[in-house]
Symmetry: C2
Subunit: 83 residues, 2 copies
DNA sequence: ATGTTATATGCTCTAAATCGCATAAAGGGT
DNA sequence: ACCCTTTATGCGATTTAGAGCATATAACAT
C-alpha cells in the first residue's frame, strides 16, 4: 500500500502510523534506530527541518520505502489535510 | 512512473534525472526553487544530511511526489547499507 | 587547441538541527 | 480519582547544514 506524503506533516503521520502498526513506542523505535525519542516526536509532528538521513534511518527501522513519482496524475485530496 | 529511492544517493540521482528531463540546469533550478546551485549539486550527489524541507522544495519545483510504501517483500536493508 | 557553460569543491559565517537530560503534558487502564 | 506509560516540550551544549562568494573542474561545443 502506497501513500503520498506531500508535506513533512503528512510524512510524519505516515511514520507514526507505521510505528504503531508495528506495536512500537517512540522510545522503542529510538532504541532501534539510534535516534532520540524527542526527535521522533518532532518528526512525527511534522518537523520540516529534519535531516534526510533521519528519515532514512526511520524508514529502515520501520521497513518503509521512499518512492518518487512524477506528479502527472490528478491531485488527490489528502485525508491528513482535513484535520 | 514510480521509482524507489533507498538511499540519499539514489534520491539524488532521481532528482537529477527529473531536472534534466525538464531541460533545467542546476542554476536554473536554483532560481526556481530559491536554493543555491552548490546545494543542488550536493543533493544530487547524495548528501545525506540534506534537510527534508530542501527535498520538498525541489520536489515541488520539479513536479515530483514523495510516496511511502511498506516494504512488504524484499530483503530488509541494513542501516549501514544506506550510506 | 580555445572558449563557454555546467557542475563540483573549498572556505567562513550564521542559523538551525540534534544531542542529552529533565520535565511537563497527555493518554490508557484499573 | 489514581497510577503508569507514552508523548511533547524546554534548555544548554555540540554538531552540522546552508548561505554567500570564489574558484576549480568537467563537459561540450567550435
Amino acid at each position: 500500500m502506497t501513500q503520498v506524503a506531500r508535506s513533512p506533516k503528512q510524512l510524519g503521520n505516515l511514520i507514526q502510523r507505521a510505528r504503531r502498526q508495528k506495536g512500537l513506542t517512540q522510545t522503542e523505535l529510538a532504541g532501534l534506530s539510534g535516534l532520540r525519542q524527542e526527535l521522533i516526536s518532532k518528526i512525527e509532528g511534522g518537523h520540516d527541518g529534519t535531516k534526510l538521513s533521519s528519515i532514512y534511518i526511520l524508514f529502515a527501522a520501520l521497513g518503509l520505502d521512499l518512492l518518487v513519482d512524477s506528479r502527472s496524475h490528478g491531485a488527490a485530496v489528502e485525508i491528513e489535510d482535513i484535520f
